[in-house]
């Protein structure tokens, strides 16, 4: 070991830039704790960015997990208070179609009542009037208090406040090794996958908020956490299909929740066991399953254009049984002192709706270890509204597009109306946080490439813009474009029929037919 190695000191190192990790970073920063957050890819690259964006009323869990239902109810109310700018209070419906379990339908109000979840029976005609896209065949309908939440905005706002309070953040920073001595982690070796730089972080306490990768992270500390990986796929419709969240009134199954996300809707999910949280993609079979189930509630789902498919992995700590949905969605908070590593904590599983509570409980445990007595403030303190979060909310880009005031400003993405000024502000945000802008990191923070053209023209326009601004040089642009196209492809290839296929063919004509992007030397990542 040479004396020249770069070591950064902190009180707490949080590993994983999802909802939980950013939530823990904010919670600790608010208690005056010095915290560093590292993320191996980019914000919300895991399940936090690959879910419905559903703020659960709790009604979904009244049958399988009454406790989780109550937790959702309580946390939902808090989030509506502290983060209204991340939430659309849409309300929700539970509807049943012919063939659904009548006993479950009859029992539903009682189950809701047991968990204290507000639920009111609806006249079928009224329900169809509230949501005209509902099937004419529905046999039961209830109103609940579900909502929509923007997970990207949520993570960015949490992180932004943590940074404002003196925290630090590194993306593309992969934890490679823990040095462990005398029942404690001495330091962590980090590798920056973009700059190829290695550095060390020395913390008093380490928090693994790595979601589906919690098992792998624990292994680095010589600890075993038995994990089950359950892949869930979701589809994004081209247009918004309903005002409210629409749930199928039955035991949790495939393709049974439709959630509005600004100008689009999201239908899912599936539950497929996988061996690993990496290298997953939505399959053609899952896509067909979701559509065929979803169209029973909402017939237009059978004919609608879909713009994207994506999937995440539910990180479930192993309990047994066949149906992964029956495993607890409650979270797992593990103090690894019992495993012989005194200063490591794992927080995993749970739901987006309960991320704040998970962060609170984790931070309580951290503070106990550090001997700090300051109390959690996230229950009451509003989440600040910052401009950094502006471009992640679906629909915002559209409104901004119509208010182009600067005569020099030009539209780079015509499908989603993303102007050059928006790209520039995203780029400077990325730079401010120590990142390096490329198409993928910009796409994560905007609707770039998510429109009907699937990113065929806007990718080239934004790339040229970045070259002209001197933001990228040399072969970076080409490599970044390949990464962007391949990442986009993961969510695209299972949805290609009708006009989407025609658009995708055009993209292939441009990028392969003319530019020959598939030829020549390629860096394999």
């Amino acid at each position: 070991m040479s004396g020249a190695k770069k070591i950064i000191q902190t009180q707490v190192l949080v590993i994983g830039g999802g909802a939980t990790g950013t939530g823990v970073a904010r919670d600790l920063a608010l208690r005056g704790v010095k915290v560093i957050l590292i993320e191996k890819n980019d914000l919300n690259s895991g399940a936090s960015g690959a879910n419905h964006g559903l703020l659960h009323s709790g009604a979904r869990y009244v049958h399988s997990d009454a406790e989780a239902a109550m937790e959702c109810r309580a946390e939902g109310l808090i989030l509506k208070q502290i983060a209204p700018h991340c939430i659309e209070e849409t309300g929700g419906l539970f509807v049943a179609v012919p063939g659904d379990d009548e006993a479950y339908i009859a029992d539903f109000p009682r189950m809701c009542e047991r968990s204290g979840i507000p639920c009111r029976p609806l006249d079928l005609k009224d329900a169809r009037q509230m949501e005209p896209s509902l099937s004419q065949d529905i046999i039961a309908a209830f109103g609940v208090e579900d909502g929509a939440i923007d997970p990207f905005k949520l993570a960015i706002e949490n992180l932004t406040q943590a940074l404002d309070l003196g925290g630090e953040y590194f993306d593309h920073a992969r934890l490679e090794e823990f040095t462990i001595k005398n029942h404690g982690i001495v330091n962590a070796r980090i590798f920056n996958t973009k700059t190829r730089e290695t550095f060390f972080i020395k913390a008093d306490t380490y928090v693994s908020a790595t979601g589906a990768w919690a098992g792998q992270m624990a292994t680095l500390a010589g600890i075993s956490i038995p994990m089950v990986y359950s892949k869930g796929s979701l589809l994004v419709t081209g247009k918004r299909m309903a005002t409210r969240v629409i749930n199928r009134l039955r035991k949790a199954s495939d393709g049974d929740i439709l959630v509005p996300g600004g100008v689009v809707s999201i239908i899912g999910t599936t539950s497929v066991r996988t061996d690993s949280p990496d290298g997953i993609y939505p399959s053609v079979e899952e896509v067909d399953l979701i559509i065929n189930q979803g169209k029973q509630m909402i017939p237009a789902l059978g004919t609608r254009r879909y713009i994207r498919a994506y999937c995440g992995v539910r990180p479930l700590v192993k309990a047994g049984g066949d149906d992964d949905r029956k495993l607890s969605r409650g979270f797992s908070l593990l103090d690894h002192a019992k495993d012989g590593v005194d200063n490591l904590i794992t927080i995993t599983s749970g739901k987006l709706t309960t991320f704040r509570l998970m962060a609170e409980k984790t931070s309580d445990m951290v503070c106990e270890k550090l001997g700090i007595s300051s109390a959690c403030r996230t229950r009451d303190l509003p989440l600040p509204v910052t401009s950094t979060g502006e471009w992640t909310e679906p629909g915002v880009s559209l409104r901004q597009g119509f208010h182009l005031s600067d005569k020099e400003d030009t539209m780079l993405c015509e499908c989603e109306m993303v102007p050059a000024s928006a790209i520039d502000s995203i780029v400077s945000d990325i730079r401010r946080n120590g990142g390096k802008p490329d198409l993928l990191s910009i796409a994560l923070r905007s609707r770039l490439g998510k429109g009907p053209c699937q990113g065929s023209a806007c990718s080239v326009r934004v790339l040229s813009h970045l070259y002209n601004k001197g933001e990228i040089s040399g072969s970076e642009g080409m490599e970044g474009l390949r990464r962007f196209l391949n990442e986009r492809w993961k969510g695209e290839h299972a949805l290609l029929w009708g006009t989407s296929l025609a658009q995708s063919s055009l993209k292939e004509m441009i990028h392969c037919g003319l530019f020959g992007m598939e030829l020549g030397e390629r860096k394999i990542e």
Partner: protein, 429 residues
């Protein structure tokens, strides 16, 4: 329903993309009474480069120096490929035919004698092609002679950055410089079609020249986006060359493509002059064959008309052109409901790597034909004696990966028309 507006012809060509245009021109050159029906807007999506065979085998990952060498191997390996029923001589004749008809309409092309040309793209990559607009040809010699290169972009033209093109060429030249030219009165984004129109204006040409002139001593040659006028692009380029004292070449990029627009204009000009009846923005449907001739319905926004034809050429393209339509379960042909050779289910359509060298199986789906390009039914018999399919709709032909789109289109279009002509008992003039 018939009326006085209804049409009768020898040959109806459905589809006004590249292959439909070539087929109609060929038919007119043989004296056939020809109708061309379709939306020629699709030509705005083509680069204007006319390829023969740029890559073979596909997984080689490199471009072919001599396409005729690749053709020999391809014909042996892929008996179902449209090139398998033709040969190098026929392909060259097809290129010569297209060069001649476009030249007559004022759009000058350069046809290679044997080797693929190396054409610089706006991505900074090099694309193999065989016949290219003369305004692009001077770029071809760049790579052999290691010239001192000036790369020009134009402020307001999106998707084209001289710096980006230069980045792709690092280490290949002794000297590269980038220059952003400002055109008067362009403050923000300008559509390429508008910009190309501006270049026909002498004041704009002067402004361009004044900004380039300071570099003309230090550099041998300059590349610029393909916006050098819509009409008379070669003439405008020559004028700019005279005024700057530099060689110039155009660099193709993303649609909408000005070279594509020049192609559309040139084809329409030559077809109109040779008596082909053009029906644009029309949807052709409901084909009926009465044993002697076809009758199809042409539907526009305002009316329907009946088109009678002794022969029909289907040049409707693939998914973007509308010749093929993909349902969730299978791919269908949209006019005649012809049999489509295709993978057994959708999960086989696409691979997991968008940029894989092997390409995606869906791009090999399409119409299988006999040696005269007549579509076959499930029992491998021609569906009709005088129905032909040409261009990208043909099966076993991944033109995107093979860089063979124009070659397959023109050779199949010429062969199908010639075959129809001969089957009418006529002899080639």
């Amino acid at each position: 329903m018939t009326g006085h507006r209804d049409i009768n012809c020898d040959l109806l060509v459905i589809g006004a993309g590249f292959s439909g245009m070539v087929a109609a021109a060929r038919a007119a050159s043989l004296g056939l009474k020809t109708v061309l029906a379709g939306n020629s807007g699709s030509l705005l999506f083509v680069s204007g480069l006319l390829d023969y065979l740029g890559v073979y085998p596909m997984d080689s990952g490199v471009t072919l120096d001599d396409p005729s060498q690749g053709l020999v191997r391809l014909k042996k390996d892929l008996p179902g490929h449209p090139y398998a029923v033709t040969g190098h001589g026929k392909i060259i004749q097809g290129f010569e035919f297209v060069k001649e008809i476009l030249g007559k309409a004022g759009f000058s092309y350069y046809l290679s004698s044997q080797k693929n040309l190396s054409i610089l793209t706006s991505m900074g990559t090099v694309k193999p092609s065989f016949m290219v607009p003369k305004t692009m040809i001077k770029g071809n010699i760049l790579f052999k002679e290691r010239k001192k290169l000036l790369l020009i972009d134009i402020k307001g033209l999106q998707g084209f950055s001289a710096r980006q093109v230069a980045a792709g060429l690092e280490n290949r030249f002794s000297e590269i410089k980038t220059l952003s030219v400002e055109i008067p009165n362009i403050r923000k984004a300008v559509p390429p079609i508008v910009l190309a129109g501006f270049f026909e204006d002498f004041e704009v040409q002067k402004a361009f020249v004044n900004q380039v002139l300071p570099f003309s001593d230090k550099f041998d040659i300059a590349g610029m986006p393909a916006v050098c006028g819509v009409n008379n692009s070669l003439g405008i380029q020559q004028k700019l060359e005279e005024m700057t004292g530099m060689d110039l070449f155009e660099i193709p990029g993303i649609p909408p493509s000005i070279p594509g627009l020049r192609l559309k204009n040139a084809f329409e000009k030559t077809l109109t002059a040779s008596g082909v009846r053009l029906l644009s923005n029309i949807h052709i449907k409901a084909p009926v064959f009465n044993g002697k001739k076809f009758t199809l319905t042409g539907e526009t926004d305002t009316r329907e008309l009946a088109i009678g034809a002794k022969g029909v050429i289907l040049a409707t393209g693939r998914f973007p052109g509308g010749g093929l339509h993909a349902r969730r379960e299978r791919i269908v042909e949209t006019v005649f409901r012809l049999n489509i050779a295709q993978p057994v289910n959708r999960s086989l359509w696409h691979g997991l790597d968008f940029l894989s060298r092997q390409g995606h199986l869906i791009n090999r789906a399409g119409i299988e034909t006999d040696q005269w390009f007549r579509p076959l039914d499930e029992r491998d018999r021609p569906v009709f004696q005088h129905l032909y399919a040409v261009g990208s709709i043909l099966a076993h032909n991944d033109w995107i990966r093979l860089k063979s789109g124009s070659g397959v289109s023109l050779v199949s279009a010429c062969a199908a028309v010639d075959s129809f002509y001969q089957s009418l008992g006529k002899v080639k003039p």
